[in-house]
Symmetry: C2
Subunit: 391 residues, 2 copies
């Protein structure tokens, strides 16, 4: 009744999943092992060690949550927050809003710090909020997937710590594409995903808690409201000499994550970050040449995700449908207030390369011309090529 | 620094993961699709339709939770329970205890209904509890993975409904190995996993809510405390004509689940259940012949998981270690009060076959003889063979 699975070829240049590395897909054909098999525990240990490398941390409590980036977000919040705790959340896009929503469900009194979509959260805003409420936690999104903003962290972290709070960075989009550097920056809690700049399949959320954050968890007066995401119980499975069953983790996804992280380390973190930057620069040069403006303010653009404002008179859905139909290219639509108003072009992980940049620019240019834009043929790729040839 | 992933061959006869079907592993090499790609929505729809078939339900709100069986358990409870709700939980093993723990974290007043490990929960016990507290929900474990008990459901369901409560069955171990039949039995909420009788990788939890359960969710006065597991938001992604982003599901795991369910349907549900029963019968015959007693009372044994009490003088860990070392066989140790006192032999999904039964029986017999049991060589396989030849 249901045929063998067949999927059409796609060039995934949306907000994730990105194109998974073939080595990662192959790793998923590895047979299962028991969740406490000594050989599997070794695979777990390798994976945790690799996560630490990419996060730039020695944090003991580091492991992949058995769920996607949002599960990582909820793990971070549900373990730190108790009923009535004060939490400051930077909201300059969709995912900042999601942090606030989840924090409230965890019982927090949330103080939102708003900035226009496309702008960064200013350190003074965080300082002001901290003065007002003395938060337990300050949370911001490092790479805002809805706007393409890369939030500068250093000053906000200092302000947070001066106010005695923990600092949380949502690294779902940034990890593997830009430096996160938990220890160097003193980030207390970070989580990410596997299907963006790590070029793996979705399904896990690498998370890390500093010793200070662990201390806060240890001193909770109430149980974490989620059992599935209870970091104290998860630590007993992921860490130490005598492992204790909590739930049956997904061997296949852990095999995949281990391989994805090996690929990242083989390329080298700095070269990988530079590759993301170079391709984003070319993409933006091409886009601007044909009149498409990035939503994120200059100097604060996340190279792995470029949000472009859709020109007046151009229909979002039509263009995205044609990109799929004519080119097999997926780009992302806008989220939240950007729905119908912006496109999100991801150049994440393996997909951050010259061929994809030239292809997507030429495809968009072709369609814009078809729908009435007055642009000379080849303008976009020409501008992008200039970036490649000069760097 | 970290070599290519290599895992030793294992015959997985523990509580899960079971040996994954090779077709399912292969399906995971399928490239990613966007989470709202029309072609991916088709894959989602296929998967939901197949889940409904195996569950025996027409329930609209049926989908795989992006997490393991425990995430399914938490999804079921967190969406139904509000602060102060009364919940009756049957506890005759480890996982009944876990339901009670999670229900309490969701704010429920839990009335536990205890039975000895290895015994079933008696309908009168549920009736008595319902008289006392008028619960919103009655929850029991269908196949208790810690004891190998298969709980009869019909009478308990009737009592539950007569008392105006919803009925929840934990089908983590039973689905795909024994009839679950949600609609025929009027089960309101069920969840399962992918790595036991469905012979897939772990990572998803197929869940289903009856219309009555959906109505209860719709009439909540408070938000579900988990955003990640919020069934109302998940329904907007999994159901209907206009799909709304909630989180990036794991394409790879959904591909795998679709294929695993195709394999189940191809075999046929009844033949599959009978295969599980026949092999369990042979296993138990062989085990009893060498003096190993099932922990589960007769007539209430879950064929996919046989819990055997460890004879006096035999060291649990030593035998399990030798089974791995000498035979590459994994069986499960005891959980909770059965730790060190019972073995759990799973014959789940593809692994429920004659070769595994004969192999594990002969291996255990060999080791028991080595450690002093007075058993004639070949007793176990001889008893098992008799079952195979007579049925």
């Amino acid at each position: 009744m249901f045929d063998e699975l067949r999927v059409p070829p796609r060039i995934l240049l949306g907000p994730g999943p990105s194109i998974a590395n073939p080595r990662v897909l192959k790793a998923m054909t590895t047979p299962m092992l028991g969740y406490l098999d000594a050989d599997f525990v070794e695979v777990m240990n390798d994976t945790v060690a690799l996560i630490r490398q990419v996060y730039g941390t020695q944090n003991l409590l580091t492991f992949p949550v058995s769920g996607t980036g949002t599960a990582g977000m909820e793990t971070a919040l549900t373990n730190i927050i108790e009923q009535g705790d004060s939490v400051v959340v930077g909201i300059n896009g969709y995912f900042g809003g999601r942090i606030a929503d989840i924090a409230e469900r965890c019982g927090a009194e949330v103080t939102p710090v708003h900035a226009e979509w496309g702008n960064i959260i200013q350190p003074e805003q965080i300082a002001e909020a901290c003065d007002k409420v003395t938060p337990k936690l300050v949370a911001v999104v490092h790479g805002e997937t809805s706007t393409g903003v890369l939030q500068p962290l250093e000053q906000i972290i200092d302000i947070t710590h001066e106010n005695g709070a923990l600092f949380l960075a949502d690294c779902v989009t940034s990890l593997g594409g830009q430096p996160v550097e938990l220890d160097a920056r003193s980030i207390d809690i970070a989580y990410s995903c596997t299907q963006k700049c790590l070029a793996g399949p979705p399904g896990l959320s690498p998370i890390s808690f500093s010793d200070r954050a662990v201390e806060v968890i240890r001193n909770r007066k109430t149980k974490t409201q989620s059992f599935y995401l209870d970091a104290t119980l998860l630590a007993e499975y992921w860490m130490g000499d005598s492992r204790k069953y909590h739930h049956t983790v997904s061997m296949s996804l852990i095999y995949a994550l281990r391989e994805a992280l090996r690929v990242v380390i083989e390329e080298g973190l700095s070269p990988r970050y530079q590759r993301h930057e170079r391709n984003a620069k070319a993409l933006i040069a091409g886009a601007e040449a044909i009149g498409l403006q990035p939503a994120a303010t200059k100097n604060h653009r996340a190279p792995m995700l470029t949000t472009l404002l859709i020109p007046d008179g151009i229909d979002d859905a039509t263009i995205r449908k044609r990109l799929i139909q004519d080119y097999g290219i997926e780009i992302g639509g806008g989220l939240g207030i950007f729905a119908g108003k912006a496109w999100r072009i991801g150049l994440m992980g393996d997909a951050a390369n010259e061929q994809n940049v030239l292809l997507v620019l030429n495809a968009i240019e072709t369609l814009l011309i078809e729908f009435g834009a007055s642009v000379d043929t080849g303008t976009a790729v020409c501008a992008a090529a200039a970036v490649y040839q000069s760097s």
